[in-house]
Symmetry: C2
Subunit: 383 residues, 2 copies
């Protein structure tokens, strides 16, 4: 346990919400590598992929609502998912549901939230957090966010970098530089650069260097700072987002959305903001010493469930009935029929009503290419 | 092609039925190694396991009816399977359907058929053939049966031994001895002994010896000879069977069945007849130079489908939809949902409505032990 944890525990109360902070959860993305569980109409964030009994989205809410306050969490999602999101998050305020008429990637989603919140509350600090990641130590997470908010208050765009526990090749990395002297953020470092998913050898070098952390895709900054940075690279996009924000809380919203949304550029916030800001020295990283996973594929689920051991069989599914003999890997099912495994190791079995997947942990990343093949062949009934 | 084959082909007509011969098909046995496809209510012989479009039972009929004549094929099966059997074999005469009130193994099934047929037609020669084996060369099969009938006519119990193509460990073997001088049966040899499924090293020695053939479980003999041989080891069983036969074609049948059937000893015909007769020098073997398989497990299905290659993926199922990438083995399904395989080799996937099996060719024999485990744990809903 850390000092912070002990102090909180000692008080005997839950920590209070952090002032001026708004959490933004962009809940988009199907999670193609988790097909056939994740679908267009049942994306990854609406599944329980940890066996906790709750969806990843709900887990994200439960982490963020105590930090920001339950009335200060905004969800940006597709119109098709509105009902599911509201069902998962009954405390979510109507005004904090931002519906996209079509997906426009993370710059538009987070940028729109920033623009709306900045109009409502000038000077607000926002943090954006994927709806479908898993974090186990909520107190350490909170501590990192509190530091990041101090850094954001000082004008930086802050991100949380996860201390690597292994040379993972499925994540991007952040290379950290000099320590920043920001009050309230003793562990903040300048970001030298972002690097894409490396090969294994490069990943090993990163981990050995001690200067690289995993990019968990969390960005904490003042809303106006974020928009200003985005405007440097994507002025048209930000102009569109500001027009949307201006109309958002008025009767004009629908008309302006219809007019502006289709023309917004689709681009990930990593490219529109994070990388350019890093090059300018405006990006800071707080090291997060908690366990984190983006649940990128079924191998990741197997690993999380088994606590890193490879000899176990992880089973996910409320009604799962599995009989296994000399088998390891992961079974994910939303059915109740009997699944029998005999002598299969590191197997991945995903059983849904209309599609079955059998692969291995080693090949779990290739699931996406199957989804692409299904799209190309027109078999969209199972996508 | 052989001389025999060419002669038949040269005539331009189908060969005629063989006189005095009756084919008996004991259609019992669930085929536990083929679970979850084979079930108590859908045993192996009622499945198409070759991709031919017809059940194994129907394939057996199609092989035998031209040899014996369609009105001279008798099927011994369980009461529960009567409708399915009659649906598969519309030409099967009512009097040739023998229903078992409970399974009593092969001595009772074949012995009862022998006793009924001997009463109806003294001196009849019967051949018994499993309902769930696969034979590809029907003309060579017929030629072997014709030889076996000559041997049976000379007072022997004949069996067909399959010339091994590999050191299989899933079959029993027959060790052949001296050539028998029986007119019309130039390839008949005396049987020295039957041997159980060997280990691989022993199987290799058998194949190298040139004196061992696979025991395909086919027995051809005069009905009275078979019963007399059985009576030497199991007099009570044969007495019961004779009582049943006496009443069979009379209004007393039901009462006698109720009285006698429950007390019949359960024993395989290999032990009650074949092994003792071999020891006495009463057993002859005709070498069958046709391809044969008892479809004992899913590995056997995969091998048959792939023609012996291991790199292929065999797919069985009328409505199967399979998308495979870098995968080999066998998929068996009675469903139409999409099955996707990625990077799994020698895999066995069997997809049914209420149970899914995932194993490998190597472990296919272990399926039976799973069925046993399910029985013990009371999960009989999927058996």
């Amino acid at each position: 346990m850390t000092d912070g944890t002990m102090r909180w525990a000692g008080r005997g109360t839950e920590p209070e919400a952090v002032e001026r902070f708004y959490a933004v959860i962009p809940a988009g993305g199907i999670g193609s590598r988790l097909w056939p569980l994740s679908r267009a109409d049942a994306p990854k964030f609406l599944h329980d992929l940890t066996g906790s009994g709750q969806t990843l989205l709900r887990g994200t809410w439960d982490r963020l609502a105590p930090i920001a306050g339950p009335d200060r969490v905004m969800v940006v999602t597709g119109r098709a998912h509105r009902a599911a999101v509201e069902q998962q998050l009954p405390q979510l305020a109507d005004r904090n549901v931002v519906l996209e008429s079509e997906p426009k990637d993370s710059s538009a989603a987070i940028g729109l939230a920033a623009a709306i919140l900045e109009r409502r509350e000038p000077g607000v600090i926002i943090g954006s957090f994927a709806a479908d990641h898993v974090i186990n130590d909520v107190r350490r997470f909170r501590r990192a966010i509190v530091e990041a908010i101090s850094v954001a208050d000082a004008g930086y765009i802050a991100t949380i970098g996860i201390v690597p526990t292994e040379p993972a090749i499925g994540f991007g990395y952040i290379e950290a530089g000099e320590r920043l002297e920001v009050p309230g953020a003793p562990s903040a470092l300048a970001v030298t650069r972002f690097v894409e998913k490396p090969d294994l050898e490069t990943a090993r070098q990163y981990v050995d260097s001690g200067r690289h952390v995993w990019n968990a895709g969390m960005f904490i900054s003042r809303a106006d700072v974020l928009l200003d940075e985005m405007a440097k690279t994507k002025p048209d996009l930000v102009a569109g987002l500001r027009r949307l924000a201006e109309a958002w809380d008025t009767p004009e919203r629908g008309a302006v959305v219809d007019q502006v949304w289709p023309g917004l550029e689709k681009i990930a916030i990593d490219y529109s903001v994070a990388e350019p800001a890093a090059a300018e020295g405006r990006l800071a990283v707080i090291e997060g010493d908690f366990s984190w996973d983006d649940v990128g594929d079924f191998a990741s689920i197997a690993k999380m469930q088994s606590g890193g051991r490879t000899s176990d069989l992880a089973i996910l599914g409320e009604h799962a009935r599995v009989l296994a003999d000399s088998s390891s890997g992961v079974v994910v099912t939303d059915r109740d029929r009997l699944i029998t495994l005999i002598g299969v190791e590191n197997i991945v079995v995903v059983d849904t009503e209309d599609a079955l997947l059998v692969t291995t942990s080693e090949h779990a990343q290739r699931v996406k290419s199957v989804v692409d093949a299904l799209k190309i062949s027109g078999r969209t009934d199972v996508l």
